[in-house]
Subunit: 210 residues, 2 copies
């Protein structure tokens, strides 16, 4: 029972044999925001079959793209170093996908973790020289933080240790400010935005991201 593959002497075809099947890249997307357990992956991949998720995870760990830690009830999956190298490629593919807003269905499902990776993808390293900051977010109740350092941006789930600023809001409000459809002041008045800490660091959001 050989898995279907292109069988071409071409690194692109090999890469697509490994991560080009349905759902596989989305599993990697989920793992790019940190280690996940089987059930968490199921939640972040609405519509995937449970057998398919198990198959893909076995394949990814077998290729050393991902790694399994723990057993049974405490099993968790995380990316290996090889898998981690898919992060910049995934960022670029996210940016490319923005050419097709019309393909985004109105009743499409959504998960806050997906926004985390989109934020990483919109980060502009060349504008961030010398920037060193930590921003904590609570967007619609979901908590994560951004680490800006050495002209890189990493989004991590959960609270930050010593954030420069803590932002409580939702993604729509922040997008509206970025697109200048409203202002920080107005959003705060309507209690759709709360800024605790260094407001200059908050403004980095609109200076360093697309």
């Amino acid at each position: 029972m050989q898995k279907r593959n292109y069988n071409q002497a071409c690194s692109l075809a090999v890469a697509l044999d490994l991560i080009g099947e349905r759902w596989t890249w989305l599993i990697i997307r989920a793992l790019l925001t940190g280690p996940k357990r089987y059930g968490e992956l199921l939640d972040q991949l609405p519509g995937i079959g449970t057998n398919l998720l198990a198959d893909r995870l076995k394949s990814l760990t077998g290729l050393n793209v991902a790694e399994k830690s723990g057993q049974g009830r405490q099993a968790a999956y995380q990316l290996s170093e090889t898998g981690e190298q898919l992060r910049p490629i995934t960022h670029e593919l996210i940016r490319w996908g923005r050419h097709f807003p019309a393909q985004m269905d109105a009743n499409a499902v959504s998960r806050p973790e997906w926004d985390m990776l989109a934020i990483e993808a919109m980060f502009q390293p060349d504008r961030a020289e010398g920037v060193n900051a930590i921003l904590e977010f609570i967007l619609s109740g979901f908590n994560f933080h951004l680490v800006l350092r050495n002209q890189t941006c990493r989004a991590v789930t959960g609270p930050a240790i010593n954030p420069d600023v803590k932002i409580t809001s939702d993604s729509a409000t922040l997008m509206a400010i970025a697109n200048q459809q409203t202002t920080t002041q107005k959003a705060e008045q309507k209690i759709r935005l709360k800024i605790e800490g260094d407001r200059e660091v908050f403004n980095l959001l609109f200076a360093l991201f697309e």
Copy 2:
């Protein structure tokens, strides 16, 4: 008859809905080396069903990732500007695929056009400051050329207008020289390599590429 899609509010999922199906990215790979006709695409995609190729091409042109020019006998397909933006992403995925040489089957099929894109992918822009050169290749009878300019590298099918150097060889020989398993002199003695023109430009091959 709705096409299967992830239906997620996530640009990555949208991108994968468009180019994540089987064969689609390989069609783009073929178009990245220049406009192709239907029959040429079939040849570069061994194993694809003829109906599937027609379906994918309709989908790609409908999304304005590719464009169709001409009709009937002279129909040809080429990438749009949006499709062209997949070039750097494809380069990175080619580089990533090199982590898995074991997955490359011994009796895998091969096409010289695939090497063209691999060469582009291995180009190191930061080593190419001020380089301005054109190299023409005839590898196992297949003719193409490289344009090095402004720290970019583009591989184009067919002969060059005024190449700085013309190289007649095969990819295995060039790889052997790059890996220092043999030397330029020895390869020339065995008539596995012929260099006409500027030998300094020929040596760029091993200075600017990985």
